[in-house]
Amino acid sequence: MKIIVLVKEVPDTYGERKLDLETGLADRAASEAVLDEISERALEVALAYADSHDDAEVVVMSMAAESAAATIRKGLAMGAASAVHITDPGLAAADLGLTARTLAVAIRRTGFDLVITGNLSTDGSGGVVPAMLAELLEVPNATALSSVEIAAGSVSGTRNADGATMRVSARLPAVISITEALPDARFPNFKGIMAAKKKPFETLSAADLGIEPHDLSVAVSIMTAIAEKPPRAAGVKITDEGDGGTRIAEFLIENRLA
C-alpha cells in the first residue's frame, strides 16, 4: 500500500500574514513558515495506518518554494519513508489548474494506492485541489472525511457534507481529503529527526515532470488587482460594575442593532 500525503508549507496563522502588493504572492519574510496543521493531520492518518501495516509506504509530497525543504523534512521526521519536493521558479505563481496538473504528473510518476490531503489549506483556503487531482488521475474522490478507515483495496469514512452526514467508500486507488476533526499529529522525536536525514528526498523541477509552466495555450487564472485594507481599530472597553449587560443593550439600541 503506497500512500502519498500532500503537504503544504504555509505562513504561520499565529503570526501576521502579508501578501506582496507587487506580485500578490505570500510575503515569506513577513511571517514564519510552518507545515500546515491540516497537512500534519493528513500525515497522521497515513502514519497511523503504517504503524500497524508493514506493507504500507508513506510518501510526503509538496509543490513549494525551494526554501520549503526543511518544512517538508519535518514529514520525514514524523515518520514518512520518503519525500518528493517539486520546486521551480516557473511554478511560483502557479494557479490552481497548473498546481493540480503538476502534482498529478508527480503522483503518477511516484505511483500510489491512496492520496491523502487536507480539506482546506490555511492560506489558500481553496479546497478544490483534491477533486481536481482525482479527475486528472482518473480515480474516485472522497473528500471532507471526519473519520477514515483504510482497507486493502478500499477506503471509507464519514463525510460531513453541507446538508447531511454520510458514510462513503471508494475502491483504491483514490484521493481523499480529511478535516480537522481527525486527531492531532504526533511530534517528531529525536530518533525520527536523525533518521530523516538519511531518508530519500527527491527534488523535481517542472521540466523533470514534462510541465511547461508558461504554456500560453492553456487558460489560467491570473490576479488582476490587489489592495490592502486598513486594520480594524479597537473601540470602547469597559469593566463590568454590575451594569455590563445593560450597557451592551444601550450600545445595541443606540446603533440600531437590537
Binding site: G126, D162, A219, K237, T239, G244, I248, F251
Partner: protein, 328 residues
C-alpha cells in the same frame, strides 16, 4: 430551444436533501444576473424536477436545464460534473458559478480539471469589465482584497455562501431537460446517509446579519445554552470558536474562523472567546463587534467596538432581560 444568450452565465443549483432549492441559489443567481443571463442547471430526482425548476425561475433563472437522475443518492460528485460538462457544452457560458460548499468545491474542481478551465475560489463577488468576468476575493481574514480573471475562456467561480446580497428578478418558468452522456469516471459510493443536518428556526450562520458566538469560556455544553438564548433574543445565528467545537459544546458547522465559516454580519457578539488570530480571521470584517470576556487582555478586545470585561454568566443574563424589557 438550443440557442442560449451570448452572455450566458451557467449556475449550478444546490438542492437540499429533500429536493428543495438550497438557500445558496439566490445569491448565485443574483450574482449571475449582474454579469449576464443566468442559465441554471439542476441535477435532481425526476419526481422533483418541475417543482425545483419553478423555484429556480422564481429566484431569477432565465432558463433551467434539468438532468433528471437518482444517481446522486449513490454516487459522489460525478453525476453533477457530467451534467455540468454537458450543460457547458451547449450553453457555452462566459462563467460557471458554483457554491463554495463542500460538494460545490468538489464539483467545481473536477469540472475545471476536466474542461481545462481556470478556477477562482471562494469569491465574495463577481463583475464584468471590458475583458470579461472578474472574481473578487477577500483573503487572509479580510486583510486584502484580490481580483482574479481568466486569461481566456470561461472562468469557473466558487462563490462564498452568504456573501452576495444581489437578487435576480423572477422569470417565467423555462424548463429544458438535458441529455447527459455518462463519463464513466470512477466515483466514491455513498453507502448511507447518517443524519440530515437539523434545520432550526434560527438563521443560518453563513450570510446571517447577526451572529452570537460562544467559546471555551462557556464551560460546558449545558451552559452554552446561554449563547443560544442571546442569539434568540436578537434573532441571530449561533457561532462558536474551535475550542468550543472541540469541547463538544456545539457541532463543527457552527465554527467561525480560519478553518470554519467566514462571516461578515452587521453585528457579531463574542462571548467567552479569547480572540485568537484564527478566530478573528473569520469575523473581523463584521460591521460591529461586541465582546464579553473576563480577561482584560484578551485579544478579542483589540477588534471590539464595544467590549465588556466581565463574567458572561452575569453580563449576558442582564443583557437578555434588558432586551426583553425593551420589547414590552
Amino acid at each position: 430551444m438550443t440557442d442560449y444568450p451570448a452572455d450566458s452565465i451557467l449556475v449550478l443549483l444546490e438542492t437540499t436533501p429533500n429536493g428543495e432549492l438550497a438557500t445558496s441559489a439566490a445569491g448565485l443567481l443574483g450574482a449571475a444576473s449582474r454579469i449576464g443571463t443566468p442559465v441554471a442547471l439542476a441535477v435532481i430526482a425526476p419526481s422533483q424536477a418541475q417543482a425545483l425548476a419553478e423555484q429556480a425561475a422564481a429566484t431569477g433563472a432565465e432558463r433551467v436545464l434539468v438532468f433528471e437522475t437518482n444517481s446522486t443518492q449513490a454516487e459522489l460528485t460525478i453525476p453533477h460534473v457530467d451534467a455540468l460538462a454537458a450543460a457547458a457544452a451547449v450553453v457555452v457560458p462566459h462563467a460557471v458559478l458554483i457554491s463554495n460548499s463542500i460538494d460545490g468545491r468538489d464539483i467545481a474542481g473536477r469540472f475545471a480539471a476536466r474542461t481545462s478551465a481556470p478556477i477562482a475560489v471562494d469569491a465574495i463577488g463577481v463583475s464584468r469589465d471590458d475583458e470579461g468576468i472578474v472574481a473578487h476575493h477577500s483573503v487572509y481574514g479580510g486583510a486584502y482584497n484580490v481580483d482574479s480573471a481568466a486569461t481566456f475562456g470561461p472562468l469557473v467561480v466558487t462563490v462564498r455562501q452568504g456573501a452576495i446580497d444581489a437578487r435576480a428578478e423572477a422569470r417565467p418558468v423555462a424548463l429544458e431537460s438535458l441529455e447527459v452522456p455518462a463519463s464513466g469516471a470512477a466515483s466514491a459510493a455513498i453507502e448511507s446517509v447518517e443524519a440530515v443536518t437539523e434545520t432550526s428556526s434560527r438563521p443560518e450562520l453563513r450570510g446571517a446579519t447577526r451572529v452570537v458566538s460562544g467559546g471555551r469560556g462557556l464551560g460546558s455544553a449545558e451552559k452554552f445554552a446561554l449563547v443560544e438564548d442571546l442569539a434568540d433574543a436578537l434573532g441571530a445565528a449561533v457561532g462558536a470558536s474551535r475550542a468550543a467545537v472541540d469541547a463538544g459544546y456545539i457541532p463543527a458547522n457552527h465554527q467561525v474562523g480560519q478553518t470554519g465559516v467566514s462571516v461578515s454580519p452587521q453585528l457579531y457578539i463574542a462571548l467567552g472567546i479569547s480572540g485568537a488570530i484564527q478566530h478573528r480571521t473569520g469575523m473581523q470584517t463584521a460591521k460591529n463587534i461586541v465582546a464579553v470576556n473576563k480577561d482584560p487582555d484578551a485579544p478579542i478586545f483589540e477588534v471590539a467596538d464595544f467590549g465588556v470585561v466581565g463574567d458572561v454568566f452575569t453580563v449576558v443574563p442582564q443583557l437578555i432581560s434588558a432586551l426583553a424589557e425593551r420589547k414590552r
